[in-house]
């Protein structure tokens, strides 16, 4: 049987975590020819609170769509980080937005820290593209989908007026992740 790669995107409602999951799953399944499924969970109001989006990528039919042992996780808020880090597997990847996450969880996995929101605001002037920057970083760190696929997937999901902005955000993500070292 084939492989099963599990990812989790977590943050607070409104940070685009679900969209991030959708984009990477679409990149994998539509543009990279793999199998992928994306699912999520949220509070009773379907607004606000900690939110998470999970993506499974595989080369065969995906049975169980939820994370069992996570290969890579993104945490954009402290609350989400605390609540959702438990299932990261040994040697897995945790990328945190250091703008928000101050207490770094301890675990048997690699933690990458980067001020994603700050960069989004200061360098791109739009905090809402923080999720796209993170996508670039996660892809660069994990190589789970191709640059080409993720770019196509991002561009197919954003309104025309924001194409350039998102392209730039993705590139920033790729670049900054390239030299990033895990905390030790």
């Amino acid at each position: 049987m084939g492989y099963r790669y599990e990812m989790r995107f977590s943050g607070s409602g409104g940070q685009g975590m679900i969209l991030a999951g959708i984009i990477i799953a679409e990149a994998a399944s539509i543009y990279d020819g793999k199998m992928a499924s994306q699912s999520q969970s949220y509070g009773p109001e379907s607004r606000g609170g900690a939110s998470r989006s999970e993506v499974i990528i595989s080369d065969e039919e995906i049975d169980y769509p939820k994370a069992t042992s996570i290969d890579a996780m993104l945490a954009m808020t402290q609350e989400a980080c605390n609540k959702y880090n438990k299932d990261i597997k040994k040697d897995g990847v945790l990328l945190i937005d250091s703008t928000e996450v101050k207490n770094i969880p301890k675990g048997d996995y690699k933690v990458y820290s980067f001020p994603i929101s700050t960069v989004a605001r200061d360098e791109l002037g739009k905090i809402i593209v923080a999720n796209i920057i993170s996508l670039g970083m996660i892809v660069e760190l994990t190589k789970i989908v191709s640059h080409d696929a993720i770019e196509k997937a991002v561009l197919s999901r954003v309104p025309p007026a924001f194409l350039e902005l998102n392209k730039k955000a993705l590139q920033i993500g790729f670049e900054r992740a390239r030299d990033l070292k895990p905390l030790s």
Binding site: E45, S46, R47, G48
Partner: protein, 289 residues
């Protein structure tokens, strides 16, 4: 109160209203989105209740399901959060079983008028002593923005992407036709006027319906290109309405497309629990201890 805003440099030290007797400890922040008008409406209600001087335990707040219907969870009264559309049916049972409770129903345009429309008209018909506050934000907020029976034609919602073709109810007209004996319209923007109306509604004996123009910036606002929560209040609640008092002195063209604010109808008519008490007497019964 509105006028205070224009008086400059009036620096006497007023004491801000203290909500702590009415808000349940530890329940804030509430779940409502930034800029949601529901919180403003709630605050007006609490001040109105305070004015009555009656103890909290005299009040029951009953709601259905919706963002607006979350109101009871935050406040320190007898509170009941029920089923979508059914608040008035629960409230009717409660009121009849305990006629001394002042029952206030906090409901939304969807809760009261879509799925709950039947209980709405029948409560009005009976003239049962209940205050019905319709938090009218022209949309189903809780389910993320479908059009409601008060959404205006042409407006965008998740189920009216081409522009809504459903005509809206006039809540006040309906309430009056169905038999409510106190009918008024207020807005979140006109918080002071609303407080006064709510006070009168509470003091009224009979069904009191208040159509409260309110805003959902997250959906209605975003879909219909309002710039902000304040922008919605400005355009819909302030510019979109005129008070009954002013209306008389305004030229017709200034009234066009505007909704009237204030008490629109207020009449005495036998109230249901009182009539029921008479029935009990007639039957030879008496309320047991």
């Amino acid at each position: 109160m509105e006028t205070v805003a224009v008086k400059k440099k009036k620096k006497e030290k007023p004491v801000p209203f203290d909500y702590s007797n009415y808000i349940r400890k530890g329940k804030l922040p509430h779940i409502w989105c930034p800029g949601c008008g529901h919180g403003i409406v709630l605050k007006s209600l609490l001040r109105a209740i305070a004015t009555t001087g009656r103890p909290n335990d005299d009040f029951a707040l009953v709601s259905g399901i919706g963002c607006s219907s979350r109101t009871p969870g935050y406040v320190n009264f007898n509170t009941l959060h029920t089923l979508h559309g059914r608040a008035l049916a629960f409230a009717t049972g409660l009121k009849m079983a305990k006629p001394n409770l002042k029952v206030i129903v906090t409901t939304g345009d969807g809760d009261a008028l879509a799925i709950g429309g039947n209980h709405f008209i029948h409560t009005c018909r009976r003239n049962l002593d209940i205050v019905i506050m319709v938090y009218n934000n022209f949309i189903y907020g809780m389910t993320s923005g479908q059009f409601s029976p008060t959404t205006l034609p042409g407006m965008i919602a998740t189920t009216s992407r081409y522009g809504n073709i459903d005509p809206p109810f006039d809540v006040c007209k309906m309430a009056e036709a169905a038999g409510a004996t106190f009918v008024a319209r207020g807005t979140a923007y006109h918080y002071g006027e609303l407080e006064k109306i709510l006070y009168e509604a509470i003091m009224h004996k009979g069904t009191a319906v208040i159509d409260i123009l309110d805003s959902c910036p997250t959906y209605y606002g975003r879909f219909n290109k309002y710039k902000s929560a304040a922008d919605m209040m400005e355009k819909i609640e302030k510019e979109g309405t005129v008070s009954v008092k002013q209306a008389d002195s305004l030229p017709l063209e200034k009234l066009e497309g505007k909704l009237l604010r204030g008490v629109l109808y207020n009449k005495e008519r036998p109230e249901y629990t009182a009539e029921y008490a008479k029935l009990v007497e007639k039957a030879g019964g008496s309320k047991p201890k």
